[in-house]
Structures are given as C-alpha cells and as structure tokens.
Symmetry: C2
Subunit: 460 residues, 2 copies
C-alpha cells in the first residue's frame, strides 16, 4: 500500500523489548485485531500487543507516547461504527486477555472486572450469588468495550445503560499515567465526574483497563409478553402509555414485520409477521402478573389481539436469543449479504413518527432494512442488508442513513443511541453538537496532546 | 476588612451598564446571596447580578472574563459545604430569577427548566400530567443547584441521583460561550459526555442555565413501612438483603434513635425512639403489598417487632416531611444551636460498620450528632448540633468528621455522597482521588484558564 505510513521498526523493537511475545506482527495473527464488524474501511495492523495487565497497557502507552505512535484499543471487535478499525501507523492495543474478575462483593452489589471480561463470562459467576449484570448489547461484547462506547441493550429502559452502571474505572492516559475514577460508593458528589468522561470516549482519551459495576439481585419472577399490532404506531403508543402510568417495564422491544420474519426464519420461531412488542416484567409473582394485566389492557385498547404471556424460562431465553441474533438474522435474509447496522434515539413521543418516516424512505427505495427498536428508550436500529458488491445499494443506504440521522436530530434526538461515533458518524456528531464539539476537541487536546489515542475516531 | 480585594468599581460600572437594576450592591440586599447554610466562612458580596436569562449570564461572564473577575454562581443558597459562599473580589451570579419551565412533553417523560426553578415549583406542574420528578434533597433546592452539586435524596435508591436524571444542559463557559450538552434522547453514544462533566462541578467549570430532566409517571400505589430495630446493624441488613433479592425499594431511610427523637419532637410524630427504617414501595397495588410482605419477613427475621404500614397519603407525607426536616429538627435539640451536616457514602455492605464505628466515636465525645442515612445507597449524614460559640465542640466535630471521611474512603467509599466538596472537603477530595485530582485540575485549566469560576471551590 504505497504512501501509507507503517509503524516504525524501532517502535516494534521497543514494544518487543518490553512486552516480548505479547507483540504480534504476523499478518495472519494480526488480521482479527484489525477491524470491528462494521462496513467501514480498515488496514492491517503492523503490530498488536496482547496486554494482560494494566502495567502492560502503561508500557505500551509510554513507548507510543515517547515515539508519537498512534494506538487503537481493541476489546472483542464487535463494534458497528469502526471505532476499533486500524489505520496504518497505529499499534493495536488488545485488552481481550485482561479477563479476570478481580473482586465481587454480593453484599454491596458490586463487582470489579478487567476490561476484557465478556458478559458471557461475568453473568455465570454472578448467578452463583443470585446476581446478574443487566446491560447487554446483542453480541457478547467485553465490559471494557461496552464502557468505552457507552453501550446498552434491551434492559436499558429499566436498568439504564453503561453510563448508569459503572461506578468506577481504572484508565491509562496517553502518557501512561494511571487514573482511578469513581470508586465503589453508589453515589458520590466528590469532584468532577471523571468516570463519565471516559464512558463513551471510544478509546480516544485513554484506555479503560478495569471497571467497577453495579449488579442486581435476580428478581424472583420474570414474564415475557409477546403481542402483535396492526401498525408500529400503535405498538409504540402502548409502551409510551405504560411508562406514563408508572408501570415497570424491564424490557420493551419493538420489531417491524420484516424483522419478525427474519428472526422467525433464522431462529426457528413462529411469531406472527406483524409489528411486534416483546415486553418483559420482573418482580414478585403478584407484581409481574399485575403489570402484565395492566399492559394487556393497554395493548388491547391499541388494537392488539394476540397478547400472550411466556412464563417458561427456556422459552423466554429462546425468544430473547432470537432477538439478540437480529443482526445475523437480517444478514441471512439474502445470500452472501452483509449488514450495515445504524441506530438513532429520539424523544419517546417522536419514536413512532421517526420509524414511520424511515419506513416510508425504505419503501420508496430498493434497499432491504429490517427494524428493531428499544422502544422504551426511543432508540431503534436499521440493519441494511446488502451484497458486498452492491455499490448502488450502499449509496442508497448512505442516503437513507443520512436522512435518518438528520430526522432524529431535528426531532431532538441523537445520531446514535448505542453504537457510538467511531469513524462512521463523525460528521453527524458535529451536526448534532455544534456547540459541544469545540469543547470535546479542547478536552481531547488536554488529555491526549500528541493525538495518539485512536486518532480519527469520534472527532476528526 | 483591610487587605481584602474588592470587586473593582470599574467592573461594577460595566455590569451596571449592561444589566442595569439587576446589579445589587447594597449590603442589606447582597447579604442573602453571600453564603449557603454551612458553617464555612463567607464574605459579603460587593455585587450580585440577578440574572433572568442565559443572555444575562453570558453578559456577566464576558465582563468578568474581560476583567479577570471571579464569579460565584448562586441558586437558593441551600448548600452545606460552602460551595456558594462568597469570597471578596467575586461577583455573585444569581440564577434564582431564572424560574421558567421552558418545555414539558408528558409523552416523552421529559421537561426543560431554567436553573432557578425549585422542586416545589416543578412538581405541581408535573402532577397536572400525572408525572413527578423524584430527585430531592431535604430542602427546596433549585434544579440548577442540584445539577451543579450532583444532588440526590431519599428516592435515589430507585430513581438515581441528578447524574441519572439529567438528559441535557445549557451551560455558559467562563468566556461567555454557550454550550448545549446532551439533548432529549434518553440515551446517546454521541461523543464525550459533556453533561456529566458539569454535573457536580459546583460552578467551577461553567454556569448551568437550563436543564432537561427525565420525569416519571406517578405510580398507582405507594405504601410506607415503618419499623424499629434493636440496633442499626440489623436495620441495615434488612435493606441489604431486600436489594440482594431484587425487591424494588423506592426509598430506604435509616434514622438512629437520637434522630428519631429529634424528629418526633420537632414534627410531632410518635415513632418509637429506636433505630428505625422508613421503607417505601411503589407500583400496582398487588406489587406494593407483595413487596411489603417480603420485606416484613426480612425485618422480622432481623428482629423487628413493629413493622407497620402507612397507607394514607397525608400520613405518609407527614412522615416524609418530618424526615426531610431532620436538619432543623436536629438544630432544635439545643437552644440557639446551629448544625453542621456532613455526609459520606460507602459500599452497602460496609454501611453498618461505618455507622457503628462513627457512633462509637460520638459516644466517646461530648458532641451531639444524630444520624440519618439513605441506607439503600450506603450514604448517611451526621448533623453536629453545636452552639455557635462552642469552639471546643467545633474542634471535636472537626476531628470526628475527619475520622469519618477517612473511614469511608478506606472502606472504598467517598468523602461526600450528596453535599459536594465546596470549601469544606477540598483536602478530602485529594485524599480520595490522588490520581484523579491532577486530571481534574487539567480540566479546570482547559475550561477556565483565568481561574475566575468559583475559585477555591472543589479544587484549591
């Protein structure tokens, strides 16, 4: 690749001197660490450092800082906006080997983990103590990656996102300085909120190496309600009314008819192919029954005729797994297709409108894009299903995505509720936060004066 | 006051030229804007600007920035750590006249208010739509002040603090630049979290002028449980076990025997003078009854013999008002006394220990200090009751407070859960966040290079 800047051999020598065999340079080994799951461009990493401790991260950042070498932090590579995509000249700093659960205090409902711990590794350990960690995107992301992108998922309507779940962080700054933010107290008014400065910063301000999380007692009862509607607007209205009446919804997911078809086919379900709500209720048995009945009345009032309750845990798990597999299910709709997933979030009362106008855009186009939404948060996803060589399709998706983002921002919403800015939405960020971006740039300059931390991501 | 620096006459002339009669300089008028409710020292403001718009705040900050004049933002003056106390040479920037509710969207469960709006002004407007805003310290603080200190209150165990409640802010920076952070989306992964940078910054990074808040549907049923225990440890354990079992507690307050006596006397209640829990349950009627029964079983298992439910709304309100009046109730225990209220927050499992050791300190001293705790958060308050001229008592309180803070930090907690750093806990902040304070200083330098924003507060 003529003209590209490679990581200098002297830098790789320094890294190997300090970190030995943890430094990978063989392209066959570095490829999996060079990109996330988005359609955004990436380049092969010249060097990947497989860090296994905060000290390793310090060593890498000191060397990179001393040599003004760019660093791209990497967790599981499950991102959707190119936030972990490598650019030539950058060292990949992989934390997936930092996968220890460092401390668990069931009595305080908190746990401290290393950044590479995945949700699938944390929850079984918590379950032994009757606890769980609710935040979870569809994929099995790392906790560090989830903190770095401000991730959320289907439970956010009740339990919040990573922003509401992280009590404290260990972060290594660009120059190798280690900072401990927050702590274990469930609330604190002690100084500036450094924890939230790093949540959602996508590795551009520092590398998160340890995370202290709130965890929760597993509720005694859980019931899932499934109900189909004649249109998306009625479905969205049920959730809005339920929240307005103070009903506790643990999850409130909306699938359009196309997405229901996709997950039916992919996961062997037999849901009615209509706009569908998946609503989950948690608490004591009486509370769960009561909440479900109250929402059934709302659903019937809005025209649903098949409000059904799923009480069996395996059956609920099967449906939620199918929901979490929405992205591969979408990809499977077309032979050899890939997906491009985008998301926006709008004020709840604007959600039905925003989805409706987006559906109209899609109907007027040749692009296939099923919709799934965290309707209790006003957040929804489009998954464009495209053949890799369909240049016209990508251009059309680009146009629809731009209109979607503009629509969301005009409605008082945001260009991304969950996926982050990465490289895909840097212009959208400026559009959404014209007064905020200059301040973000100033913060970036203060924390990373050499500009080595994940350059080109979030801000460009 | 020889040697003190006053606000220069030219600055006052500039302010009066731009803001006319909004500028107060008569000591009889400026005194109420010169201090909060703490025991920390303050000086009479030479000039108070009663801002009524974001533009007024811009005008003040431009003048102060141009003339390198310090500014102390002021809301209701209900703070407890001197965060709004005036120092000579500073202009008081009062936002209490910014008291308009700018926008309410019941369908989206959000509202935008000016910084001077008080809780008591917001909730009646929300109630007309079946909504409420849950965050509330004991006093009737302004929403802007609550955001600036990261306030919380009795509902935090369920609804979170201001950190979890603010969706977006309008902030005026030191140089008069207006920044809009966040927005109305209930979650966003769009760029750095500027909103949380300002929450808890106590006016040292900018002046918050508008706040967008999450609000909630009023739940159909609410029940308050009151139960006394033989000791504080058993009471704390009930709450810990309830949370561990996934029971929804909307409030979980602990009062020690001395505080129960104080509020009984002050508010005409007749609670048993023993360590007492006030636990509130919300939801549908069946859920509330079920949760209360589950907690009754836990309370009886821990030795409570008088678990009683209060279902009448006026009676509940009377008890909560008494709880919120804990500080004046403490002051009323001694003729002519004033209170010095401090707070810490520790991991939930350490709360009983932390309170127990603190009680032992108090028992071994001559100082009177009833205790009230937000036990579901691990947060509790001591209210030292002192005669204004009791120098030895203040010194003793100082010593007990230092030991309390050190104990909390050693336990993994924080030097303040709710009250903020102000001028009273700047040394404690350094002890708690030795690696964080240098970064906080760097952020302060970036946002306020002239050091004019509430100098000496939070960082010194």
């Amino acid at each position: 690749m003529t003209g590209d800047v490679r990581v200098r051999a002297t830098v790789i020598d320094l890294l190997q001197g300090a970190l030995g065999a943890k430094v990978l340079t063989d392209p066959a080994e570095t490829e999996p660490f060079s990109h996330d799951r988005s359609h955004h461009p990436w380049q092969l990493a010249d060097a990947v450092v497989r860090c296994t401790s905060t000290q390793d991260v310090v060593d890498v950042l000191r060397i990179c800082s001393d040599t003004t070498t760019s660093v791209v932090p990497f967790g599981t590579g499950t991102g959707l906006e190119g936030g972990a995509n490598l650019s030539r000249g950058s060292v990949c700093l992989d934390v997936s080997g930092m996968n220890r659960i460092l401390r668990l205090d069931p009595g305080s409902l908190d746990v401290t983990v290393e950044a590479g711990v995945k949700r699938s590794e944390l929850n079984p350990v918590l379950a032994e103590h009757g606890l769980f960690f609710p935040v979870g995107p569809g994929v099995d992301a790392s906790i560090g990656g989830m903190a770095a992108t401000g991730a959320s998922g289907t439970n956010a309507v009740y339990f919040g996102t990573m922003r509401e779940s992280v009590l404290g962080l260990t972060v290594v700054l660009a120059d190798g300085t280690v900072v401990h933010t927050g702590g274990r107290a469930r609330k604190s008014a002690a100084g500036y909120d450094l924890t939230h400065l790093f949540i959602g910063s996508e590795g551009t301000l520092g590398v998160i190496t340890e995370i202290t999380l709130r965890v929760y007692g597993i509720p005694p009862s859980t019931v899932l309600a499934v109900c189909a509607f004649g249109d998306l607007v009625a479905a969205a209205r049920v959730v809005q009314r339920a929240l307005g009446e103070g009903i506790h919804l643990a999850r409130a997911e909306l699938l359009d008819d196309i997405m229901v078809g996709a997950i039916d086919d992919f996961s062997g379900l037999s849901l009615e192919r209509a706009p569908t709500l998946l609503l989950e209720f948690i608490g004591g048995p009486a509370a769960v029954a009561e909440d479900a009945e109250r929402v059934r009345a709302l659903a019937e009032d809005e025209g649903s005729v098949n409000f059904g309750l799923v009480e069996s845990a395996p059956e609920r798990d099967r449906i939620w797994q199918a929901r979490h597999d929405a992205l591969p299910a979408a990809a499977a709709m077309k032979n050899g297709a890939q997906t491009w997933s985008t998301d926006v979030c709008v004020p709840i009362s604007r959600l039905a409108d925003c989805i409706g106008q987006t559906k109209a855009d899609l109907d007027a186009s040749s692009v296939l894009a099923p919709i799934a939404g965290h309707v209790g948060d006003g957040n929804f996803h489009l998954a464009f299903v495209l053949s890799p060589d369909d240049t016209a399709g990508f251009a059309e998706a680009q146009r629809i995505n731009e209109r979607l983002v503009e629509r969301a921002v005009v409605m008082g919403g945001t260009c991304t509720g969950e996926h982050g800015i990465g490289v895909g939405k840097t212009e959208d960020l400026i559009r959404e936060h014209p007064t905020g971006v200059p301040l973000m740039r100033a913060l970036k300059g203060t924390l990373d004066p050499l500009g080595i931390m994940n350059p080109g991501k979030v801000l460009r």
